[in-house]
Every structure is written in structure tokens, then in C-alpha cells.
Symmetry: C2
Subunit: 272 residues, 2 copies
């Protein structure tokens, strides 16, 4: 049995900047107070260029900005980050790199992609992901799959406190070590990507867990991060499953209770 790891990062449901108490009524017309998630905007600059404004719960702006830029191929794995400046009053974060950057053309092209399920991924990222093969020999034990779900569900979280967020986690064996939440599941995975990049965490022996659905964009981000095993309690899309097969990603979905379905990379599952 693997040694138990503590969380490096975990949700902070007691952070008063992340939730708000609102009064309302329950099903018996009784006045109640309930906690809801706060959304706030974050505008990301890369050097002198405004890249995007996104809505986030507002924690970890640095990891979110860097993960977002990595997952858009605007930051490269060998980029040297000189400085990250966050201005809390105007919700702006500026990432400064040694390399000079100009993504005007890419931003022009971005006009044309939108939507919730898939939308912020460019052609060059598809090309990169299609070439990438995850060749990690990492195995996942059958029982870890439900142990992981259970541990994440029992960890104090904004989801348990206020609902309306998605969560993503990085796991060693059956121990979650990084757990991030956000209103958008893509923000949550971007924060994880940013954290792993800055802390130089090796992805090849880790497992990735998401509460969100396994759409193509989620698969692409997992492959880009380089984690060989992806678990979700939610379902699949056919394009996501194809991308996972092409890249040899172990794709485990509909993981609820003791049930799950594997659509790709089943050789990494140790059923004993």
C-alpha cells in the first residue's frame, strides 16, 4: 500500500471571498440562508497583450493564468517566466516571459470558436495532441478507482459548501494531492496545469480526476499535461474517446460507486 500523502493544494471552503450567504425560501416557504458561489472576472495579459477575460471563483489566479496560457499553447514548456503580477483591485493578471510573444493572429482566429463543451482549442493544439503518445507504464489498481472518488467526495470543498462548481484532482496511487475547483471545469484543469508547471511536478506517474464530462477539450488538456490516466464520474463523447485512444490515454468514465467504464488504455488497469 502506498504511503498516505497530504494535499499540496486543497479547496478552502471557509474562504469568505469565495462564497456568499444569500437569503431565500425553502420548499416549505420557510425563510433560509444559503451559501452560493461567487463569480468574478479575471483578465489575463501575456506580456503587453490582453489575451482573455474569464469568469472564475477567484482563487489561485496565478495558476489559472499560467495554466490557461499553457493549454492555449501561448506559453511553451521551456518558457522562462520572469514575473507574474496580479492586481486584485482590477482583477488583472500579467504574465511576463523572457521570450517575446505576439498572438495577435491567434487571437483573431479565436473569434471563431466558442461554446461551452469545446471551444477554446486551436488547430495547432489538435495537431500537437494527435502526435503525442502517452507511454507511461503507470498502473492503476481496480480498487483505487473507487477509493479515489470516495476520498475526493469526502474532502471538504466548495462543492459541499455551496455547490455549482466543478473539481479536478491530481492523484498519486489512491491519494489525491492537488484538488482545485472552479465554476468552469476548464478553469479547474487550467489551474492544475499551472500548478504542475510552476512546481515542476512529474505528470507521468499521476492520475487525473475530474467531476466534469469527458469531452474532447478535457481529453486534450489531460494529454497536454501528460497524465496517463483520466477518471470522471461523468460520461463520454465519441470524439473524446477517439482522442484518448489515439494518444494511449487510459480513459475511465461513469465512475460511480463501484462501477466504471474504460474506453481506452485498459492495459494500465490492474484488475487483481
Amino acid at each position: 500500500m502506498a504511503k498516505k500523502q497530504k494535499y499540496l493544494v486543497a479547496p478552502n471552503p471557509k474562504n469568505k471571498f469565495l462564497t456568499k450567504s444569500i437569503s431565500g425560501y425553502d420548499e416549505n416557504n420557510k425563510k433560509i440562508t444559503t451559501k452560493v458561489i461567487k463569480e468574478k472576472s479575471l483578465t489575463i495579459f501575456l506580456n503587453d497583450q490582453e489575451i482573455v477575460t474569464l469568469m472564475s471563483i477567484g482563487d489561485h489566479p496565478k495558476y489559472l493564468a499560467i495554466g490557461y496560457l499553457l493549454n492555449q499553447n501561448m506559453l511553451k514548456n521551456n518558457d522562462i517566466i520572469k514575473k507574474v503580477e496580479f492586481d486584485n483591485d482590477i482583477d488583472v493578471i500579467v504574465v511576463r516571459t523572457k521570450r517575446k510573444t505576439n498572438y495577435e493572429k491567434k487571437l483573431q482566429k479565436k473569434i471563431r470558436t466558442s461554446g461551452c463543451a469545446v471551444g477554446t482549442v486551436f488547430g495547432d493544439i489538435f495537431d500537437e495532441v494527435k502526435k503525442k503518445k502517452l507511454n507511461s507504464q503507470k498502473k492503476i489498481k481496480h480498487k483505487w478507482i473507487y477509493e479515489i472518488s470516495k476520498k475526493i467526495n469526502l474532502t471538504p470543498s466548495l462543492y459541499l459548501e455551496a455547490g455549482a462548481v466543478h473539481g479536478c484532482a491530481i492523484i498519486i496511487n489512491n491519494n489525491p494531492i492537488i484538488y482545485m475547483e472552479d465554476v468552469g471545469r476548464h478553469n479547474a484543469v487550467d489551474k492544475i496545469a499551472g500548478y504542475m508547471f510552476l512546481k515542476k511536478i512529474n505528470p507521468t506517474n499521476k492520475i487525473f480526476y475530474t467531476t466534469g464530462r469527458l469531452t474532447s477539450e478535457m481529453i486534450i488538456k489531460t494529454i497536454k499535461i501528460g497524465v496517463p490516466i483520466l477518471i470522471s464520474r461523468s460520461g463520454f463523447t465519441s470524439w473524446g474517446a477517439e482522442l484518448a485512444k489515439d494518444s494511449n490515454l487510459t480513459l475511465i468514465g461513469r465512475a460511480k460507486g463501484k462501477k466504471y467504464i474504460v474506453l481506452s488504455g485498459e492495459q494500465r488497469i490492474d484488475y487483481k
Copy 2:
């Protein structure tokens, strides 16, 4: 008791273009075949201008395109639609209006908004929604709230067939009459908006149900459509709740079993 209405539009889980059978393994390492959702792209043109490419399940492209354009304020309620041309081979749809349109500047601005939870809403839409007050006297009976959830859950759907989609419905009293699904919850609400616009359906005496979370963008779209009551089984964000209060939208969330919470417009609920 209201007369029972049949669906005007309902999911078609047997449509073979919407799902795909994929082989995989279950938790006992037994080979299985499962259905998953197909994603496909749809590029929307308004007259001679390319507006967006989004990922959708691919049904109802016409309603999706028109609803998307309405919810982006690129189509106005009094616009005359001359023609809608859909090319199935290249997944392109062109909406032609009598009014000449040019949204170059708006598309430029769009570069800067992204993300899953909120992202495709512009400043002018916020301004419009902030001014709008829903003054419908429509009431919803306490028991309708769970009757509606139950009816929608029991309707044959892509969700029951393959998972990984969100659903939205328009309801008269306790009878769902329009039910659309998509990989993105925003596509589902856009399709409903397009359908209601084209079929000239009065929104003021209807109820809107979504399986998705009640984020600001979902609230904004409901207010724009003009439906006075919004129900979700999912949770709230604080900004969404504020927008609902400002516009006098009845906002009912966390509707599961016989429980629910109302954060705004509780005068429309008949608790008897």
C-alpha cells in the same frame, strides 16, 4: 388541473447520427459496448459574416444558429429572416436577414471573453438585461416543481441513452412541451430560444427548466427569452442570483426530489 400537453419537440435518442456505440470494459474487465454522444462542429454565418464555430450534438442546427444569434444580440426580435441555408456536408449554416448586418467590431471584442461558465456575453447584453423587468403574473404551484423534474427525468432522452449532455425545457404549468439537449448547456438554451422565436411562442406564461447550473449567463439568457420562472436541479452563483432579483425572475435551484430553494421572485410560487 391543466390539460395534458404533448411535446412539440423532444429528444430523439434513437437518432443514429447523435450517438455512437463504442466498445470498452466494465469494472469486472468484461468487454462491453456502450453508447456515447457524438460532437460535431457547426459554423454559423450571419449574412456574409462568419460568426462562430461551436461544438454541438448536431440536431436542430437552424434553431441553434438563430438562438445563438439572438442571445448574442446579433439578431433582433423584429428582424426578418429571409432564408436559412444549412450545408450538412461542411457543417455550415447561413442565416440571411432583410437587415444588413456587420458585427466586425463586436467580433473583435469577443476575443477577450472566454471560459465555460460565462463567456460569450457582451456588455450591451448586460445593459439590456439590467433594464428588463419580468412582470408576468404567472404562478407556479408548489407541487408542479417536482412534477416537472420527474416528467423531464422520465422522458426518453439522449441523457438516458448516452449521458454527457445537458437538457433544457419549456413547460406549460406542469407539462414540458419543448425539450432540447446538447453537450453544452448554452447550446441547449440557444436552441430553445431559436425555436420560440421562429414559432412565435409566448414566453410570459411559461416555465424554463435546465439541468445545468444557474450561472449568470444562464440567467441572462432566460431573461432575454422572457420566461418569468427558471428551475434547475443544480446550484447557484451569487451573480446569477443578483441578476435574477434585479429582473424579477423567479429563480428556483437545487430542485431534487421534493426539495428546492428559491432565491428570487418567490411571489410567483403558490405554496398551497
